[in-house]
Structure formats: C-alpha cells, structure tokens
Subunit: 331 residues, 2 copies
C-alpha cells in the first residue's frame, strides 16, 4: 500500500507538500493539489485513520430523484440504507449531485479527499461523467439500477424485473387475458430494456404472441400514455402492463378518455408501487419495488464490495400487489 | 409472532407438551413431536432465546461436493462463508447431507428443532426433497447455484455466467477466432442452461453464427469430452469453451488424440479455475469462480434475508484467467 512518502518520491516534492494536498491546506496551488490527489488514487493510497478502522464514512450520491419527504421515491431508499449501515458502525452522508458537479470533480479524488470508503449512487443517468469514470474506479461503489461491466469494485443492485413482469403476466393470464401489451418507459435506459426483455421472455414462455407494435417505448411520466394507449386499444389489447406507476396512471386516464372502463374493459398494471398508487381510481395493481429493502440491499452489497466480494448484480424480489385495476377479461 | 401458548391452544394440548415437543424431550411420542414442530413452523414460532439475540446459529448443508481438503471445490466456499460469518457473531455448523436424509426429515422442522436461524445449501440437485420444500419455507435460506422462484425467504448466489462466457468469447475474438464452440455440461441443470444462453447471447452480440450442433450438452466430467470433441473439430471449430475445467481437461486430451495441438491448432477455455487447472499441459485459460468470495457472498446474502431483505439473485464477477491453452487462430 502506498504511503505519503511514496507519493512524494514519485512527484519529486516534499512529504509536507503531499500532506497539504491530501488534507486540503490552502497554501498549495489547486493544480498541485489535484496532481497529488490523482497520484494518490493511482498509487492506491488510503489515509491511515481509514486503514485503522474496520468501518468508515460512506456517501449516498443522489441525482434525478426526490428524496426529502416520505412520499417521494428516494426517501425510503436512503432510510433503508441508513438502517442497515448504522448498526455496522458506518457514517452515512447524503449528497444530491448534478452533472455539472461531476464534470468539475473527478469521482475518485472527490471520494479520497473527503475520506469516503465507499458510495451508493442513486438515480444517475447513462451519460453522467461519473458513470464513465466508474469503469476504472478503485473505490467500492454500488449503483442502483445501473450496471458497469467488468470492474470488480462496482456492483449493481435493483429489483428483479424478470420475476416482476412474469408475475404480472401470469396474473393476467389467470384472469383470462391473452392480448397483453407492454407500455414501456424511455428508450436507451437499462431498466427499460430489461423490462422489455422480461416481457418478451414471459409472453414467449406462455406461448403468447410478441410483436413490436405491442411493446412501444414512451417516457416514465403520466402524460406519455396519451400517445400510445388508443393505439394499443385499437389493436385489441385487453391488458396493459406499464413501465412504471406514473405511466400506468396516465394509461388509466387514457382508457377512460377513449371510452374503456378499468378494469371492466381493460386491465392495467404498474411498476414500483409508489405511495400514490393505492389512491388512484381504481387503486392500481402493481409490481412493488420495496424501497426500504432496496436501500438495505444497497448497503449490504456495498459492504460486500468493501470486503473484497466482487458482487456483479444483487437483485431483490419484486412483489405483485393486486388491487382493483385488474379483473377477468371481458367475455 | 406465535407463542408456545398459541401452539398449545391450536393443538388442544398443554403448554408443557408443546415445550417438550420443541425441546426434544423423550417422554412424548415422535408423532406428537412432529405435529408440534409442524404447527410451530406453520404459525411462525421462533424460540425466545433466538429472538433475543441479533445473531444465531447457521448451518451449511453440502451435497454432491467434496470439501474436506484445500484442493477440493467446496473447501474455500465453506472457508469464505465462515470468514464472513464469525465477525458478525454467528455460529456455523457444516453438515454433509444425503437425499435419504432429506426424505426422512422435513427441512423446516429440522431447522427449527436444531435452532438454526438460516442455512446455506451447496451442491443440491433439482430433484432433492428439500429443494421442493424451499418453495414454501419460512426459514431464511441461501442456495449456491440453484434458484427458487417467488419465495422471499430464499435467495440464489453464484457467479455471473453471462459476464464470464462473454469475457471468454471476447478474448477468443481478439485472438482472431470466429468458429467458437460451447462444449456444455449436463442438460437439465440451471447452470448449464445459463451458460448456454450466455454463449448464444455473446455470439449473437458479436455477429457470430450460432447453431445447435456447435453447443452440445455432455456431462461435467473429463471423460464426457470424448463423445463430442472430434465432431466439433470436424465442423472446423478453432476454439472450444467448456462447461467446466474437468470437461476442458478432457477436451485438451481429445484434441491431442485427434492430432490437434493446443493452443497452436485449437484454443480451449474452461470454467471454474479449480486448483488443478494451472497444472494441466498446457495450463488452462479459464473463467474463474472465486470460491472464497462465493462463500462470503453466501453469508452476506443469507444475512440480508435474515434482515428481511428479500434477495432474489446475488451474482459475483467472474475473472478470465489467461494461461496457455488459448492462442491466436492458426492462419
């Protein structure tokens, strides 16, 4: 393991200069400080106080997701993470983050200079600067709903879409449905592609027809249903599985607007079970992601990676919550 | 949570009879004892001393796998599990098990009467009696290389076959190979099917032809290579990815027996990286499953399930170990 002296030798500067760079002292230039940090990361330097403890500081970085109040999607994820991390004697910082911040600060050096031993990243987009840097990071990192190939320091957690979609389709088949559509979310998202493949696999396994026009992409917002629901109904769909609950709430509205009753004429299933889903009219049947569990799983997985267990994917069980937006197919 | 009194009321017997049944006292009949245990399991009873502790006794059940000495496949899996479990203050018992034992003892009642709070099952076969019972068990259970659908108390851990096979095929493609076969293991095994699908996905993603005759099933033993290698060579295969290292060692032998040199004429890749693989002639390029990590992952996952985090699948990163059985394709 590299020491401060090793870094000083490599850079041809004094030990105290390296120490200043690592500790954020004000009397060295920002450029030299960055060089010290970059070199420290490259050489695998870990601060002594961090080496001496068996636990340490973790950071949850959160982007594109509300988390401040209990009805928001991210709230329980953070709560679950903390519930699992505190008994294991970790400190947890929550930091909302922007694309601009990621461009200004390198991930590894930001982690090192703040003394974080690992991070949980929630809500990041594929084009984010830090996601690109995760291909080579040496910092234990766990991602919610994003997957980085091959780097043993990075792991992906989420809900098992394949099991969830299959549960939904089996429920619909048991109700007599055969013409089942998938109103999916945004293209070019890993989760969207996963749910699409899960739909194809499940429909095929049940000997039901699959074709492109039955599984349109849209967006993960209620308004996006407007462009697709009438088309799916005109194809004869008796049931629509939606990429998330917001899209499902839009689909409910569009069915009514097109003169179809839910669930008498059309069954609708969502994904996520956000708090509002039970309050919709009719209350939504949906595939629940348990967000407290997701947060705990984020911690347990990060803790595994910190302990040199290179988790690739850790997926939780979804749970089909049957409410009133699904019913037997109309004769 | 059910108490001893609840069980007594349900069965119409005294509290002391229930207590005797749960504690293995000799002065009640075996039949009544089984009824007490069955009812306790059904009602979700947990012994008080178990409720009061935050950790407890775990059992590793092992079948169809050698584990007594360091060069055997199971040894490091058990070692890794214990390395992760002891710091978390769990006791770990290792119990080899047979199909006959599983028929004689129900899984849930065996766990309850021995006071185990969770189990890690290694090497079980699909037709084992306990695997069937896992569909409904209420005991936190983690399986190595077996998957039970839908029961939130049961999780599956293993190595990510998709990433491993893809690494192998990318390595071969970089060496100029295009005619790549998969000599797979036993049909009707979850892992065999996973590796087959991984091969199909990876070949397709690289625009290489996939057909049935290029991916025969065989068995996970060296001798099974004899029935297939000559056929694959006559099809023009320049590289053979094998279902495990034993099969790869057989394939090495068969190539030589058919007048083909490895790696000059044919490249061979195994799966597992068992200790003998580095000693083969030539030393085997293979997809490593890190067995210490698998054991630790088994514990971390079981610990998650005990903490009500319903893990479906927790997959580790494989690592391609490049030795001398692969080389550039012959011109």
């Amino acid at each position: 393991m590299a020491t401060i002296k090793d870094i000083a030798n490599r850079l041809g500067v004094s030990v105290s200069t390296v120490s200043k760079g690592l500790n954020g002292a004000s009397d060295i230039s920002e450029q030299l400080r960055q060089t010290v940090l970059d070199t420290a990361v490259e050489m695998g330097y870990t601060p002594k106080q961090m080496r001496a403890r068996d636990t340490g500081k973790l950071c949850i970085f959160i982007e594109n997701m509300e988390y401040e109040t209990a009805e928001q999607f991210g709230y329980d994820i953070i709560l679950g993470f903390k519930q699992a991390a505190y008994p294991a004697r970790y400190d947890v910082t929550v930091m909302p983050i922007t694309p601009a911040f990621q461009k200004a600060e390198k991930y590894d050096t930001f982690m090192l200079k703040n003394g974080y031993v690992g991070a949980f990243l929630v809500g990041f987009a594929l084009q984010d600067a830090w996601l690109e840097q995760l291909h080579t990071t040496s910092i234990p990192t766990t991602l919610f709903d994003n997957y980085i190939r091959k780097n043993p320091n990075v792991s992906y957690i989420g809900t098992d879409s394949f099991e969830g979609i299959d549960d939904a389709i089996e429920h619909l088949i048991a109700l007599g449905h055969r013409k089942i559509a998938l109103l999916n979310g945004s293209a070019h998202s890993m989760i969207t592609e996963q749910r699409r493949q899960a739909y194809i696999d499940s429909m095929s396994a049940h000997n039901l027809e699959v074709s492109e026009k039955w599984m349109p992409y849209s967006y993960y917002v209620a308004a996006a249903a407007k462009d697709h629901v009438a088309g799916l109904l005109s194809l004869g769909a008796t049931a629509i599985v939606c990429g998330n609950d917001l899209l499902a709430s839009g689909a409910l509205h569009e069915c009514l607007a097109n003169g179809y009753r839910v669930p008498e004429d059309v069954s609708i299933i969502g994904f996520d079970d956000i708090p509002i889903s039970a309050q919709l009219n009719p209350p939504l049947t949906t595939i629940r992601q348990d967000r407290i569990e997701l947060g705990k799983c984020g911690f347990f997985t990060l803790h595994s990676v910190i302990n040199h267990v290179s988790v690739s994917k850790n997926l939780l069980r979804p749970q089909l919550i049957i409410r009133n937006s699904t019913a037997p197919v109309r004769k």
